[in-house]
């Protein structure tokens, strides 16, 4: 009995993966107009069907409350009319972005007469693994559709009613648009076993994208054999150099830490040059305390009598994601760079300085997706970069690094025209 049950579970995944592969081959030749029309229909259907979606979402909310879900998580799970309207607006916005598919990237001739061109094509089938945010269901589906990819969605069990409802509505919109409904499919079985099978579904999936907390992402990175677009974890630093302007340094440090502490591009450790610290450390700590930021300070801070929680080795590697940070005094830009390259997650790192040599050294030697001079790390974001959309922020070095726009969901193909060439 148990075994049959498990067989059925795995067959949902395999069956949907097979259908996704067929849908992907059809989507690859769909025109920009067809894709944009489908996005418009999706926006329209989200509004038309909002009563249905909200009723299903309510079931998840009730279950979440019964299971003691925190207020923050319930808020992420909650849908309502304004949120659905925002989702619909984002879909319309997406229709206005340039379609990357078919773009001619390069073309050249060879001495033997071969004409080679490289064009942008969809990736194929994308597996999206995410947590209890039903808005990711709409977001991921629409970005994949715009780039001609089929998507297999694997959301959280805590959002299963919301996700089923949204995918049903999206599939209806696809049908109205004459596109395969299997372009967007939800894996309804939210067991760990099925997720693990997805990790290794190289035969059908071209890429896996995890969206969520550090644990989810590490679980995918550590277990998947399907290529992964790693996103998320950000242990970001602001380094205040000897020659940093006082107001600018404090403004940027405060913004990077406090403007939205729960996101990956928020600052987690501030490094301060010893000479700047000797003059302005109290100002910085006062500003942080005014915003109720808990400070884990290094030995220097403790010695000079600043009232801080003593920082341990663990603090340098901690992504607090709250009004809490680590603070360390360093002797020079080299020390700052060494610390960041040791403890950072290669996401976003900032230097505040008026010394151009130090800035250049920081730019070259820091190993991160985005390196800032005199600006907040909070700008590492697809919209802030002007991409008009964001899949996530890649912290790996292959394929895409930093904020990922639509192009990150594409691959390329070489087209070679000959007239009988042989080797």
């Amino acid at each position: 009995m148990r075994e049959n049950f498990q067989e059925d579970q795995s067959s949902e995944l395999i069956q949907k993966a097979q259908k996704a592969k067929i849908a992907a081959s059809l989507l690859a030749k769909t025109t920009t107009e067809q894709k944009n029309k489908a996005l418009e229909n999706m926006a329209e259907q989200l509004i038309i069907e909002q009563a249905f979606i909200l009723a299903e979402n309510e079931k998840d909310i009730i279950a979440g409350k019964e299971n003691g879900m925190t207020a923050a998580l319930l808020d992420r799970l909650q849908l309502n009319e304004p949120r659905l309207r925002d989702m619909a607006a984002a879909l319309i916005q997406l229709t206005k972005l340039e379609d990357p598919i078919g773009e001619l990237l390069e073309e050249w001739d060879r001495p033997n007469g071969l004409m080679i061109s490289q064009i942008r094509v969809p990736l194929g089938v994308i597996g999206m693994i995410y947590e209890a945010r039903p808005n990711v269901t709409v977001d991921a589906s629409s970005l994949c559709l715009k780039t001609g990819n089929a998507v297999l969605l694997r959301g959280s069990s805590t959002a299963i009613h919301s996700n089923k409802a949204i995918v049903k509505v999206i599939q209806h919109a696809l049908e109205l648009s004459g596109l395969p409904i299997e372009s967007v499919q939800l894996i309804e079985d939210t067991s760990r076993k099925t997720a693990s099978e997805m990790f290794k579904l190289n035969q059908y999936l071209d890429v896996l994208i995890p969206r969520g907390g550090a644990k989810l992402i590490q679980s995918v990175v550590q277990n998947a054999t399907v290529p992964v677009l790693e996103t998320g974890a950000g242990n970001c630093h602001v380094y205040i150099d000897e020659t940093a302007d006082l107001k600018m340094a404090i403004d940027i440090a405060m913004n990077a830490k406090t403007q939205r502490p729960s996101v990956c591009n928020a600052c987690e450790t501030i490094l301060v040059h010893r000479k700047w610290a000797s003059k302005h450390l109290i100002d910085l700590c006062t500003a942080l305390r005014e915003k109720e930021v808990r400070i884990h300070g290094d030995e220097t801070l403790q010695q000079v009598g600043v009232d801080v929680i003593p920082a341990s080795e663990e603090d340098w590697g901690t992504e607090y994601l709250e009004l809490e940070l680590a603070l360390k005094v360093v002797d020079n830009v080299e020390d700052a760079i060494t610390h960041i390259n040791r403890y950072g997650t290669k996401h976003s790192e900032a230097i505040i300085s008026s010394t151009i040599e130090n800035v250049e050294q920081f730019f070259i030697e820091i190993d991160a997706a985005a390196v800032y001079h005199n600006a907040s790390t909070r700008f590492t974001d697809g919209f802030e970069f002007g991409f008009g959309a964001e899949i996530g922020i890649s912290t790996q070095k292959l394929h895409a690094r930093g904020p990922m726009g639509l192009k990150a969901l594409t691959s390329t193909k070489y087209i070679i025209q000959g007239n009988g060439q042989i080797k």
Copy 2:
């Protein structure tokens, strides 16, 4: 005792990985001139130390013969003066290629005054896992060095003396050039256990590149959590359409199959349109037989009385890599595309046709790294494409697809200049 021994084994890998990471951070800021000088020194040292290298190589050859290694494998393992001269010449050639590191890819301003630029940077530390070809040791080391990456080499136990000798010579050249000798390191422990540890060394390795047969590559893809650049397997097809020119079709099919059957861009299955087949099949089969190509034919071929080995389902998926192929008659271009997308490995696929609509359909619908019209699949190669170097041919869709030149060994970094911007 056993356990201690294993601890020592793993510590060689970890120790060298740690040193590689430090070397990588130094290489990232090395100038093009320094890197080219090191390549020149490597070329010179290979010649100066050829007696040493050949003597060490001879040990591997003797062991190979004792262990019954095939003549083909012994030939791949064998070094000699001309082969060392060729390697040295390739190193000098590499100094002439443009250094991709530091290239400005894009730059733009944002309305808030932020200036964003994207530059090309090294990947970091590359793990190279390969089989008994000592030339890969030089090839991989030099390509990684040119692109500012440190490399951990894990070759075959059957080439261990050759590899140790070559890496010793390379490290001496690095030393002479003032570059860290840990830029190129050989993992001398060739146990499977250490290879498996390398697969999961995400903390130190930015990418793994397997070079060798399909089994090796699949083992890495199926077991690695470090991102992999998948290369190699090529079940390539030539489709001869109804309107294909007779001579051109036969020339290309013969070239793609017989010019060098052992390589990944050689043709493994020929698909023939029924109408072309009814006129010219005998000519094609005669040409194949003259070159002693064994033909696995489908039912149609068997029915019309062509003398072939009956093709089984397995044949459509077989990469023969010998003078042997599968031959199938199809009804139209759609059937050819369906067959290729089902059985191909997304490497290189050719259509021979004079019907422009069919060619366009083939270009759009075939899911492969390189798609050819009226040319041989044998041109899928970094040198034939004009890249001046080749890391391998990627059959995956992330990061790089098709022949990979130096740029495939690079990542990018965003540099953001501000004057106090906060969000």
